[in-house]
Amino acid sequence: MSPADPSDSHQPTTAPAAALAALVRAGETSARDAVARHLDAIARLDGELHAFVTVLPEQALAAADEIDRRVAAGEDPGPLAGVPVAVKDNMCTRGVATTCSSRILEHWRPPYDATVIERLAAAGAIVVGKTNLDEFAMGSSTENSAFGPTRNPYDPSRVPGGSSGGSAAAVAAGLAPLALGSDTGGSIRQPAALCGVVGMKPTYGTVSRYGLVAFASSLDQIGPFARSVADAAVLFDVIGGRDPMDSTCLDRPLPRTTSAVGDGVEGCRIGVVRELVEGADPAVASAVAEAAQALARAGAVVEECSVPEVRHGLPAYYLLAPAEASSNLARYDGVRYGLRVDAPDAESMNAATRASGFGPEVKRRIMLGTYALSAGYYDAYYGQAQKVRTLIIQAFARAYEQADALLGATTPTTAFAIGDKVQDPWAMYLSDVFSVPSNLAGDPAMSVPFGADAAGLPIGVQVLAPALGEAMVVRVAAALEAAAPRLDAPGIADLPLLGATGEQR
């Protein structure tokens, strides 16, 4: 089959969110109608899915009316005019609870908006709600939420992945065409894979972290969820770009990706990374192999390659991320905001508040990180992990001398059953084994759906590129999307919304 012949493609590249925005901007449909239909779907389906921690009907409808008024006045509200967006509940929204799915922040209302929230508003997008996550983004299943787990739209007995499970499930079920997540070790890509949607972790420093509640500052990055590569690209282009409020933002032109989506992969050199497939379930491994073949058919030069250093990524990550987290989460001490459990003196108040406010996984990582940074252990743990990080950066750099992009699995397995891994943290951590290396390297990576296992559960394949290589990522991902086997719609979903936005499943 040749991708040059559109009739051969099972799933022509579509951009439902961008299409919706185009209709709103043209005045052919109203933002109020779009938002109301999504709010209605949330009302009907989210009782079972529990993708949202907070839904914002009044605020969203008011914002939609404002968009409609501006369109009527002949103004252009922006590239995402009237498009509902679900936002992971670890991004600050002014006056709206931002809980991180933790008891310790359950009632906290930030006095300010995260930079990404401001950029969504500037593009005409409408935040319909805040989505569930593993507490403080620590987890791979969304079971660590203090408010109960989110369910996978393909099978409610299974997890949606995590930590951005709520955002992934919302997009998969049609509750929002777009969502924001944060990815510290795979928290966008892993749930995207398990829920059959597109998710991208951009280059570290391309999207402002201002207003993102920190988990591990040197690894955290906000990124898009969408039902198509093209939509993910639009959302990335909207939220990205330098922000004076975040010193770690790159002072370089943002890679514009929207225009690169249709560029194809003719002549692109793609390396299939052995270590990013080994140990994966056979169905996942064969999906990667099929994806590689599809790219070759689309004109790419595909070769197997090896980046052995990535095998050390997971242990290094589970020292560095908890180390930073132990410091980032110190501020939840009951003094200034959030939960306070009273006690006779400040020190016991701190201890009582933290004992009661944090869940077991958060406590485990704070302990782990505190230990890794302790005098006498710093060099052996934190210092050593930093060296591994440097080795991984160098190893990727070598791989990119031979390849424009790399291909691997996003996760070793498809969605697992709720409760399966909660008692075994290491088994849970292994879900991130293929995603963590990109965070350590700071490079962009995207998970794109590529078929399903025998049970009909979605499989994601991962496209990696060097820093600021987002345009290459979306080119390759779009080619994969075009060639991907048909994926059935989830069992829990608003089918008209999935379809009405012009999407084929």
Binding site: R331, D333, L373
Partner: protein, 493 residues
């Protein structure tokens, strides 16, 4: 704690044959408009918790952005202390305390901006500067209710206005050998900070804070003794008293065959002694690691050059200039008293007044004495004195239009209210007595007391005082005593 710990006071350590070894850590607040990592006002004395924002309150999701002006002021300090100014990074210093908004302090650790400098004391001794690094201040806690002591308080109030104010911590080598020398170091450092416009150096407002590391050893010993760090030294007086007490305490311990335990100690100003806060074993593990929210500071060479070029002359150089003026006055060297005066004048940044006066032809010794003794007593007011007015006052004194006593009175008024010295003198009735009125006043007194005049002419010198008193009375004190004495001598001759 040892039983002997609480007995006070101790005789000086020198009396026991010990030499104190002192190193100082001085924190100074930088004179920036805004805080180190956010745009909040850096101001002292505002209503609590009004100069705050998500960043300096440590709200979830907030991030620090480095203040370039603070980096520039830190470089100024480093250059003034002859440091190597280097590329640097920030670390996080982790510990829990309610006045710490993030429960970590952003500070520089093993890659500070300034290292390996020195400070030259007025007596010429050099003190090594190990480092001078940037860090953020914490909030300020007040214990309320109960007995007023920390463990008795009902609750704690926190003001986060100071949280995030830029500080430079200047760490000296263990090079100081007496409390007096430590005092001289702090005074000199303060002069340098004031001269460079980096800090106002006000210890009483807390914009300059000193911690002292003190140990003792036998003179000539090469090893350092076990040290204690003394906190809460809010004045030069406290610094001197605390070091003397602590060195004495350690000397007494060693004399008694006990050992000094490495501790952090608190200076209790009222009780006049240091009290143990925590021992080395109880010390915090700060779990330092590189601050991931900030990027390395690498000031470009052009910027560094501009900063270096903008540095004013340092106190040591300015003292040299004053010495030169005094020597030019005819003296081969400055006297000990003048050395003290020079140090005082430069410490209070009033040397500009002396130089201006000397350039206007006033004898430098007079300008130096008046500036060191009178103007320095109200240094802040003196720094805003009108230079021309001050020179005019000194000229009136030099020309005999005002007596020394009168000149001091006029200066007092000028410091308090400002104004023109001639007019102030007139207001006080200090108009200079014309030479002929003085002569006629003397003649009148002599005519009224012919017997005494005869005895004086016969050599009874002590009668000069008698006549002077009468002349003063007659002129309502406007006559210059020295001028009267001169007139008497002239008439007798």
């Amino acid at each position: 704690m040892t039983p002997s710990e609480d007995t006070a006071p101790y005789p000086g350590s020198e009396a026991r044959g010990f030499e104190p070894v002192i190193g100082l850590e001085v924190h100074c607040e930088l004179l920036t408009q805004t805080k180190l990592f956010c745009g909040c006002r850096n101001a002292f004395g505002d209503v609590p918790n009004t100069n705050v924002c998500p960043t300096c309150l440590g709200l979830p999701g907030s991030l620090p952005v480095l203040n370039a002006r603070a980096v520039e002021l830190a470089m100024r300090i480093g250059m003034a202390l002859h440091c190597d100014v280097r590329p640097s990074i920030f670390h996080r210093k982790n510990y829990f305390y309610p006045d710490m908004p993030k429960d970590y302090q952003i500070s520089q650790y093993d890659e500070p901006i300034n290292v390996d400098g020195h400070l030259e004391l007025p007596d010429g001794d050099r003190v090594r500067i190990v480092r001078a690094h940037l860090e953020e201040d914490t909030g300020k806690t007040t214990h309320v209710g109960g007995g007023g002591r920390i463990h008795e308080a009902d609750h704690l109030l926190v003001d986060y206005n100071p949280a995030g104010v830029p500080l430079v911590e200047i760490v000296s080598g263990p090079d100081l050998r007496s409390a007096a020398q430590a005092r001289a170091y702090v005074a000199e450092l303060r002069s340098i900070l004031v001269a460079t416009g980096t800090s106002d150096g006000r210890m009483e407002e807390g914009s300059m804070r000193v911690d002292a590391n003190v140990s003792v050893r036998r003179p000539g010993a090469s090893e350092l003794g076990t040290r204690c760090e003394i906190k809460n030294l809010n004045s030069l007086r406290s610094l001197v008293r605390a070091i003397e007490y602590e060195a004495g305490r350690q000397g007494a311990l060693l004399d008694a065959g006990e050992r000094v335990v490495q501790q952090t100690r608190h200076w209790d100003e009222e009780a006049g002694r240091t009290v143990a806060l925590r021992s080395k074993e109880e010390a915090f593990d700060y779990r330092y690691f590189p601050e991931p929210d900030l990027v390395p500071i690498a000031p470009d060479p052009g910027w560094q050059k501009d900063v270096a070029a903008s540095l004013p002359p340092m106190p040591a150089e300015r003292r040299g200039q004053l010495r030169g003026l005094v020597r030019g006055d005819g003296a081969p060297v400055a006297s000990t008293a003048q050395e003290d005066q020079i140090a005082t004048v430069v410490e209070h940044a009033l040397d500009g007044l002396v130089v201006a006066a000397a350039e206007a032809g006033i004898p430098p010794a007079l300008a130096l004495a008046r500036t060191a003794n009178e103007a320095s007593a109200a240094a802040q007011a003196a720094r805003s004195l009108d230079e021309a007015a001050y020179v005019a006052l000194l000229r009136m004194e030099h020309d005999g239009e005002l007596t020394a006593t009168q000149a001091k009175v006029v200066l007092g008024d000028m410091l308090e209210h400002g104004g023109d010295p001639a007019e102030i003198a007139r207001r006080h009735g200090f108009e200079a007595l014309a030479a002929d009125s003085l002569a006629s006043a003397v003649a009148e007194v002599l005519a009224d007391h012919p017997d005494e005049w005869e005895r004086y002419q016969a050599g009874e010198d002590r009668l000069a005082g008698f006549f002077t008193g009468l002349v003063m009375k007659k002129t309502s004190g406007r006559a210059d005593g020295k001028a009267v004495a001169a007139e008497l001598r002239r008439l007798r001759a």
